[in-house]
């Protein structure tokens, strides 16, 4: 049985650098303007998968599974350029508005469809939702153990895995049976960059939906090279229960969103002159803040 590693990944808006262009006049964030990227910690997870494959002398299969709109297939190709073997896109309008519970339900159906598997890896958290919940919730739905805050997957065999975890004030090394879900922390090594041979090999990989949009005829290419076909699964393919999907399947609801607007404080600006500094120190002493 080939060692199967499923990497769960998400395409997210790049929230790390919300510059002036992304802020609209009314103070709201214009998500459409933010570049869509491969969630950083999911890339760390992919790197761990690639290292495990190397540890097993190449005798492993890395499958990237992502749930998102049609364009999320971009991250499947990105993963293939770095060494993933194939990818599946879980996409359906019915998934819109999913919170972490509905998302983990949907993802777990996708993982079950890929059984038997040995490891499920994912990033610790996504930079848009920031919850770090989907990993553990997916593990619970799959009925498998979980190891969070993983910094390094040190060794792997058919039956066991040893993982080093990075905790608040130190490290912990744990051993678990297989299958197991592991969430990878950003203290883990950065993902290797694209491999030019893999890029050339996989750059025409497309999903069914993407093929419909393409002007170029991919039919012949995809027939002769079936690994270029990225499969799409919708709610029916997953035999999903409608009440567990999307908004309906989400117990958490957003009541209100407020934009963080910068309130300029009445700030007193001082120079670095001796006079100004001494003045400040005296003021702090006089008001009993220091001294």
């Amino acid at each position: 049985m080939s060692f199967r590693i499923i990497v769960l990944a998400k395409q997210v808006p790049d929230t790390r650098n919300v510059g002036k262009d992304a802020m609209k006049a009314d103070g709201t964030v214009n998500r459409a303007v933010l570049p869509a990227i491969f969630n950083p910690e999911d890339l760390h997870a992919l790197e761990q998968a690639l290292r495990i494959k190397e540890m097993l002398s190449g005798n492993a299969e890395i499958i990237l599974l992502t749930m998102g709109p049609v364009r999320a297939s971009e991250i499947i190709r990105e993963a293939m350029y770095r060494g993933a073997d194939k990818g599946y896109l879980i996409t359906d309008r019915k998934f819109a508005g999913s919170d972490t519970l509905a998302t983990s339900y949907t993802l777990s159906l996708g993982v079950k469809k890929l059984a038997p598997y040995h490891l499920v890896l994912c990033g610790h958290q996504a930079i848009d939702g920031d919850t770090a919940q989907v990993g553990p919730q997916t593990a619970e739905k799959l009925g498998i153990p979980q190891i969070t805050f993983a910094e390094e997957i040190s060794s792997v065999s058919e039956k066991k895995v040893i993982v080093k975890r990075r905790l608040e004030r130190g490290i912990e090394v744990v051993e678990s049976t297989i299958p197991v879900l592991i969430t990878v922390h950003n203290s883990a090594p950065v993902c290797r960059s694209r491999n030019s041979k893999l890029l050339m090999k996989n750059k025409h990989a497309r999903t069914v939906s993407e093929l419909q949009e393409e002007t170029r005829d991919y039919a012949e290419l995809h027939t002769s090279r079936p690994y270029l076909r990225i499969e799409e699964w919708n709610a029916i393919d997953l035999a999903a229960s409608p009440e567990s999907l999307g908004l309906t399947g989400s117990p958490t609801k957003v009541k209100k969103i407020e934009n963080v607007v910068f309130q300029q404080k009445e700030s007193k600006v001082l120079s670095n002159s001796d006079r100004d500094i001494e003045g400040l120190v005296k003021e702090l002493i006089n008001s009993h803040i220091i001294g």
């Binding site: 790390r16 004030r169 130190g170």
Partner: protein, 339 residues
């Protein structure tokens, strides 16, 4: 039944600060909701845990005490917590947003199919009217937190599911003793019939956890250094001023990542939250994640050679200049004005 629950973390028999802070918040929520406050403690060597917990106004303490339960492992803690929650049917369940809480709470929420909001910065009781159906929900827990990289504040509610779960980071809530003689009922959890071999498929082989040497949280004055301080050696200036005025030294994540200072001193979203009467930010640009950990300081002084650093927007006093230039002057004038 139908009370506010707080899962309390234990390290070598000592209840974690974040759990005590959550008990204090839990007590206030329970008062508003007219119900009781219950604590759940799972670990080892828990003989005097009730003495640590009761003063925070805890009505019932559920204790699961066994050497197999420390250090924390996902599966046994999940099994026990689910069993207690299924019996006691909490309406609110709070966990610290720590490596334990962030591992355990989502697994519990998934099993109970209820809502969980992570890293809440505020918890408030309020009502909600569903626009489509005009259904009115009373006394819901508003779970308030930053999102989208810190650029928005969201209020989340779970109108249809229980318990309403939330995780909160250390330092966000305040610890408050209700009464040193508060009486709690103790309920021992019988783990013998709950746990099986299946709960122990994951084993800890090694553990190197340092004891917390420094805790800057309670200091009234904090002098924090950022990447702009420039080096580990330059931080000595901050330590010198701190010694002089009775302050603690803090740092931004950038300074910790650069190796200038230890992680225990980190202030911010992935460090500690502090609320001193005076916060002096030295060479800190003031990213959203840092501000989240200190913007509740009573007075803020920012020292930065960059006049456009965002930190200046929340400062009461802004000094444009070099840290190596200004701190020695502050030291000099403090000494000369406090003979």
């Amino acid at each position: 039944m139908k009370n506010v629950f707080v899962y309390c973390e234990i390290d070598e028999g000592v209840v974690a600060d974040v759990s005590l802070e959550l008990l204090s918040k839990g007590r206030k929520l329970a008062n508003e909701l007219n119900c009781k406050l219950e604590a759940l403690v799972i670990g080892s060597k828990l003989n005097d845990v009730d003495k640590q917990i009761s003063p925070f106004g805890v009505d019932v303490i559920h204790i699961a005490d066994d050497e197999k339960l420390f250090p924390y492992l996902t599966l046994p803690h999940t099994t026990i917590t689910l069993d207690v929650f299924k019996q006691e049917q909490p309406i609110v369940a709070l966990f610290g947003a720590t490596s334990v809480g962030r591992d355990l709470a989502p697994r519990i929420a998934s099993s109970l199919k209820c809502g969980l909001t992570a890293d809440c910065t505020s918890l408030v009781i309020g009502d909600h009217t569903e626009n489509k159906t005009q259904t009115v929900y009373k006394n819901l827990l508003y779970q308030i937190r930053p999102a989208f990289g810190g650029n928005i504040i969201a209020t989340i509610i779970n109108p249809e599911t229980l318990p309403q779960m939330a995780t909160v980071r250390e330092g966000v809530m305040k610890k408050e003793i209700v009464s040193k003689t508060y009486k709690s009922e103790i309920k021992k959890v019988n783990i013998g019939k709950l746990l099986t071999d299946a709960d122990f498929v994951t084993k800890i082989i090694e553990r190197h956890i340092e004891k917390q040497k420094i805790n800057i949280k309670n200091s009234q004055i904090i002098i924090a250094g950022g990447y702009g301080v420039g080096s580990k050696e330059n931080f000595n200036l901050l330590y010198e001023l701190a010694d002089l005025i009775g302050a603690e030294v803090g740092a931004s994540r950038a300074a910790v990542d650069a190796g200038y200072v230890e992680h225990d001193r980190q202030v911010g979203q992935t460090g500690v939250t502090v609320r001193p009467k005076l916060y002096i930010a030295c060479g800190i640009s003031g990213a959203v994640q840092h501000r989240a950990g200190m913007d509740q300081s009573a007075q803020i002084i920012s020292i930065n050679s960059d006049p456009d650093a965002p930190i200046h927007n929340i400062a009461d006093f802004t000094i444009i200049g070099e840290v190596q230039d200004i701190i020695p002057k502050m030291i000099k004038y403090y000494k000369s004005n406090t003979k």
